[in-house]
Symmetry: C2
Subunit: 297 residues, 2 copies
């Protein structure tokens, strides 16, 4: 596989930008590309080279990381005009850290394999805050040997790094993650609203219940923000809506009943309709407050 | 208030027994009572005195702790024949650590106040495992000065101890806790079942997602047991069914829509119908497996 110091990074959004900066800080040589030019400024200042297409990124990199929104985005970046497939070299590795469908992952992996290149699916959990701290949880699908060779890169970006299984299994793991994330958040919101309407002091409640069986990442990180009415995104409603679509699709393909998950999904739809796509997922409380005609306070 | 070394303890079930043993180990002089005699053996061996009625317990104690199942149980213990009210002395304190309705709590507190005694509502979270370790989370309602005086007792039993507010607010806090516990568990179950049916290795998934935004007490403690198919109770389905009734009652009184909570409740009903009341709440997965005709493996 040779040297893996030259990394290409495509997708510099809320997650991608801090991740790319962490790689530069760790000494990697980065070539970056983003659909909208405006987002690359801070990366260039940090020393990244700017490419004009995904193809150019792949020509100049041993490892190409993609961190974009959705299955069609990754498809376009890999298979489209001036895409990665046109520039990628034999024995290069593409690491897709986006959250996309397991089936699209398998298709793209096969196309890259035809060129002699490898692909890992490596979606992450932990929000933009964890991306900044380099403490993401990374769930990786694909060849185990390729995973081992990329481990130093993953260790720059995350804290919990697990090889889940063959191609696509990183994405399956991420779906499991998001089912639990969404349902846990929904429960936190319903609990806090019940408390609020009952007249209890929520700061005290928060202090007590984070010490017991109700505690969760969602309660600690988003419950606290809900109480302060801070709706800045660690993870946006818009991205959750996309993940919900992937969950819905998986549930449909498997014909698996997912009652709580499907109810929580309706509230994310409502948030989308209310135009709150750019807010953090903790805005879930707003949809609940609306149907309950009450507010957390 | 005087000396508070003599503690009465009523209710020696899955939670009460280890709590009483921890108090004895800390040097308190205990008088215990349980409806069914058989459960007191281990306490007597540890040095507890056995009383023949709640009345007798209260006659011999500065502080009386009750840890039973439900509102009618506490009502009977306090107001019934040979109940606490008949024996309690001026300036004694009753601490009800059961999970009961906030309105029953207020009624009992008032009756005790008429006798010059105080009452704290102090329900706990954290399962029997935390009761054994003395690491419970304790949420306390009632007079703050009385709370302060009882703090050494709480510190023997728990780790996170919070005065939530006036009488009944400990119970409100516990309801919030249980809404979140049940919904989080439901989401963990749906996520794991989706992963299992997708063919992913759940041990790897568990390792990955406990490191990120999906993590929770429920995932760490019950998700792990679900994967191992260990259904021993940290908290029984039967007790959760009682808490669900309290949540349903609160939601109805407040006319507060709780969509995810109400769906999760239906599955606890199903577990009750299946005769799984004595199993741990992680048996939730069994109801989900039944409607999905699939199993976590």
């Amino acid at each position: 596989m040779g040297d893996m110091q030259r990394i290409g990074f495509i997708g510099l959004g809320i997650m991608g930008k801090p991740m790319a900066l962490n790689l530069i800080a760790a000494g990697y040589i980065l070539t970056v590309y983003n659909r909208t030019r405006i987002k690359t400024g801070v990366l260039e200042q940090a020393g990244a080279k700017l490419a004009s297409s995904p193809k150019q990124v792949s020509e100049n990199s041993d490892v190409i990381i993609t961190m974009v929104s959705d299955s069609p985005d990754v498809q376009e970046i890999v298979l489209g005009n001036d895409g990665i497939l046109e520039g990628i070299r034999h024995s290069s590795v593409m690491i897709d850290m986006s959250t996309i469908s397991p089936s699209m992952t398998k298709t793209l992996s096969q196309r890259l394999a035809e060129k002699g290149a490898s692909m890992l699916d490596a979606p992450v959990s932990g929000s933009s805050w964890a991306a900044e701290d380099g403490t993401l949880s990374i769930m990786v699908g694909g060849d185990k040997e390729v995973f081992q060779k990329c481990l130093p890169i993953f260790e720059t970006l995350g804290k919990t790094i697990v090889h889940i299984g063959p191609t696509g299994m990183g994405q399956v793991c991420k779906l499991v993650n998001q089912v639990i994330v969404a349902g846990t958040l929904a429960s936190v919101c319903e609990g806090l609203l019940l408390g609020s309407k009952s007249g209890v002091n929520l700061d005290n409640v928060f202090q007590a219940i984070t010490g017991g069986a109700a505690n969760s990442w969602q309660l600690e990180n988003l419950g606290s923000r809900i109480i302060k009415r801070d709706f800045a995104p660690g993870f946006t409603v818009k991205l959750m809506l996309k993940d919900q679509r992937l969950i819905n699709q998986a549930s449909e393909e498997l014909e698996l009943p997912m009652p709580v998950s499907s109810i929580a999904r309706q509230f994310f739809y409502a948030l989308g309709q209310k135009g709150l796509g750019e807010e953090g997922t903790q805005s879930y409380i707003k949809a609940l407050e609306e149907i309950g005609e009450t507010e957390v306070k």
